[in-house]
């Protein structure tokens, strides 16, 4: 019972934060609120039993992306510049409402949350749940699927991310010594 209540409250907070983000003009405050947004959505993932997604959301959403967005603001240096909208909001509003309606229509076909007869529950999931530990020896089933059963797929993803990282470094590189000093400093703070 209480987890339903927590769900509803967190979703309400999420909606409030989203509206506030849309209405705000100060980029800095918006990034702060993005942090709250990530915390809330990860809390929702936890309540909905998706511990791994919550882990990723915590590390990427609340941690890395906040720092990256702040770094972008620091590099572009016009934090407080206000820009009036150069177009009328009606066309984007119509597009957004149509997309939202289509998505809501799509959810009608999705099985109920936690339904035991859902395809996700009956197709390959039982195989992984039964065999994962004896076959791979990895205690976390999701990790075993990602790193063992779908190892080549994950390898491909990692190669893509690595290539993107190299490309970014080549484009904006040349700041290595300074950034390593910053890292050392942060660890000094932590200790």
């Amino acid at each position: 019972m209480i987890d339903v209540f927590i769900n509803i409250t967190l979703l309400a907070f999420l909606a409030i934060t989203a509206v506030a983000i849309v209405r705000m003009t100060n980029l800095f405050a918006i990034i702060m609120l993005f942090g709250i947004f990530s915390f809330l959505s990860a809390g929702l993932f936890v309540v909905m039993d998706a511990a791994d997604v919550a882990f990723t959301e915590a590390a990427v959403g609340a941690g890395i992306s906040t720092v990256l967005m702040l770094a972008t603001i620091a590099l572009t240096k016009d934090q407080n510049e206000k820009q009036s909208a150069s177009h009328r909001p009606w066309l984007p509003l119509a597009v957004v409402i149509m997309t939202g309606a289509a998505l809501v229509y799509g959810t009608l076909d999705i099985p109920v949350f936690g339904d035991p007869d859902a395809p996700a529950q009956t197709h390959v999931a039982p195989y992984y749940l039964e065999r994962a530990v004896p076959e791979t020896g990895v205690p976390n089933v999701v990790t075993s699927v990602l790193a063992s059963y779908r190892g080549f797929d994950t390898l491909g993803e990692v190669v893509v991310v690595f290539t993107a990282g190299i490309a970014v470094l080549l484009l904006i590189g040349g700041r290595r010594p300074k950034s390593s000093r910053k890292k050392k400093e942060r660890e000094g703070n932590d200790a």
Partner: protein
Amino acid sequence: MLTAVSLAILITMGLALARALMGPTVYDRIAAINMFGTKTVLLIAVFAFLSGRMDLLDIALVYALINFIGVVAVLKLVIYGDFHSSGKDNTKPVKVD
């Protein structure tokens, strides 16, 4: 009992969220977000006990760390304007009035 505690934490989260939305200064917002993060950590810890899934505590742990790193990164940007400077070169000393 755990239910009551999670309710109390939710109320506190709501109050902190209100402060983060109202401002008025950017520091108020950061303080409220730091508080919000701490409450999320506690909520996840309480929820782990509520549902009996102790592995959720790992997430609470990661959160406690990320919250701190995020706040320090934000403050570094607020004080120095970028992430590279390290010294007190562009700040003036504080005086007691």
